[in-house]
Symmetry: C2
Subunit: 343 residues, 2 copies
């Protein structure tokens, strides 16, 4: 059924060399010949044998991923969504994955082994922290890599894809301030992750630009689960001066926060405003909340797909991709934000 290069070449009355070159876009082949080859390939459904390509080129055609198994990361809902994007794109190009579950303390060893194994052409890195030691390590490893997120405090000379978390939460906070809110709380992700740090920074900037400050009692860091969102919100509401608005680092956190708010008998968008960051989890759409949520939106799945594209493109040397990308999150206003209540 499946044809191979040899058969295809025979069929066309050409040599394997020429067919291979035509298929792989090398210049030394006549335009008309290339057209014929491509057409024949299409008609016969020719698919190059990856094992043979791997052997011949020395490339692995697969990308390695160290899957952190620290509590609260591997089982994170956000992880599955990101992975789906990555995998979706990889499959299109017939790329494989080497998933390497690893506890944080073993990560360095895992990375080295993976890079040395020859089983992967590129590595992927996520869950960035401030002064993350892994990027220096990866630079020394002489294997291409791509970072999801950015470190802080490191030089910026490494390829990454990140969203502009600072700007996102700056925008969100500014909107709340413009609506008259003065006491704004923050339910953030884990404090050691850079996206959390940057979101807080963006929020702080907006506040200070308007002469406001951030009350430490109105900041909570935690794993991004429903339950933690609930508890954080509850704590805020018990404060002698509860906030009139809250920023949430995830719609998952917001889910809990909303519950706490409802339970306290407050009305979202009136008594208290809420903006959450929306990773576009198919399971949890902000427009389906009982009071539709104002969000800063950036699709996690799309980020996964983009990372796969860049990684694969780099390996295949097809096209040029920017080394660094910073996506802007969209601020989408729905019903959960409203003017600050009058005292």
């Amino acid at each position: 059924m499946a044809v191979n290069l040899k058969q295809l070449a025979e069929l066309l009355g050409l040599s394997q060399t020429t067919v291979s070159r035509a298929l792989n876009g090398y210049p030394e082949v006549n335009a008309e010949t290339r057209r014929r080859v491509l057409q024949a390939a299409r008609e016969t459904g020719y698919r190059p044998n990856r094992a043979a390509q791997r052997l011949a080129t020395g490339k692995a055609y697969s990308i390695g991923m160290v899957m952190p198994i620290a509590p609260g990361i591997d089982s994170d809902v956000h992880f599955g969504e990101f992975l789906a994007g990555l995998a979706e794109e990889a499959v299109k190009h017939d790329f494989h994955f080497v998933l390497n579950p690893s506890a944080p303390e073993d990560e360095e060893v895992t990375f080295r082994r993976l890079a040395a194994s020859g089983n992967v052409d590129a590595l992927f890195l996520a869950y960035m922290r401030a002064n993350d030691p892994r990027i220096a390590m990866l630079k020394s490893l002489s294997i291409p890599f791509l970072v999801h997120g950015r470190s802080i405090g490191e030089s910026r000379d490494y390829p990454f894809l990140d969203i502009d978390n600072t700007a996102a939460f700056y925008d969100a906070a500014r909107l709340l301030i413009q609506l008259g809110h003065q006491r704004i709380a923050l339910i953030n992700g884990p404090e050691y992750l850079t996206f959390s740090i940057r979101r807080q920074k963006g929020m702080l900037r907006a506040l200070s630009e308007h002469g406001l400050t951030l009350d430490e009692a109105l900041v909570q860091h935690s794993l991004m689960t429903d339950e933690h969102g609930y508890r954080s919100m509850q704590r805020f509401l018990q404060h002698s001066q509860p906030p009139t608005a809250v920023l949430c680092s995830s719609t998952v956190l917001a889910l809990g926060a909303v519950r706490a708010i409802n339970q306290a008998g407050l009305k979202i968008g009136e008594d208290i405003s809420l903006i959450a960051h929306d990773d576009v989890l198919p399971m949890l759409k902000p427009e389906n909340f009982s009071v539709p949520l104002t969000t800063t939106r950036s699709s996690l799945r799309a980020a996964g797909a983009r990372i796969a594209t860049r990684l694969i493109g780099g390996i295949l040397k097809r096209g040029e991709y920017p080394e660094q990308e910073l996506w802007r999150a969209e601020l989408i206003v729905r019903a959960s934000t409203g003017p600050a209540p009058q005292k």
Copy 2:
């Protein structure tokens, strides 16, 4: 640095053939020779080139997995945990993954493509439903596969790994009945998944053996999130005759249920007893609940690892594995269960 077969053979003064055979356990090689070969392989750190093996044997040395991207599955916390087990084991044997995200309606096409691609030696299947059409399809595909869970209503002649959900919830329900509970509720997973069906069945059996029945109003099916657990429990508590005990299909559901119970001012283990199924999520330990949870326990990660082992073992033809395994969940009693309250 890395030696290949040829070099290793030269080093030993043997032919590649002999070395290869010694390494792969073929009989026609002298015991002493084999010892020497194995030792040399160890000392030089010889690792066979997978691409070459793939080309020579036609095996892919990788296992395919269709990752369901239906809402509430891919982003499920349980998914990441299971995947970690699978990946952990695969990495040990230098096996790759081909993750294929696919919407349910495209699954059949995806499976066929995957099987035909030659990129995988075996397929893995999960999230089983009653009369699941996928198993008949896979049987027709002439590629080994392994099912996590079991279908219902299909003939049983396919390889699977499942836990005895019926027995688990039978045991759990029986314990509650022995403690004097008469009105027992169930917070279950999605109703179309077989584990949910079986758990309910087990519970029903225990009830009917003691002349009790299951009030339909005391059964809830939903995605296994905190939030759904909360809502389900709330609904039960609003009932004119609320239950005195509850079974939960996941500790994640239990998390929400506990919150609803606390909120109602009831004491767990006294006013209301609770047993949850514990998948051993590292993030959510039943012993860390404010009132430690009685559970039926079976590690999801271990199941993932076992499935990888069986799949890989089958491909490599190393050792024999049972075709079908049914794991027994352990019933672990903690403080969340107590005698039924006196009226």
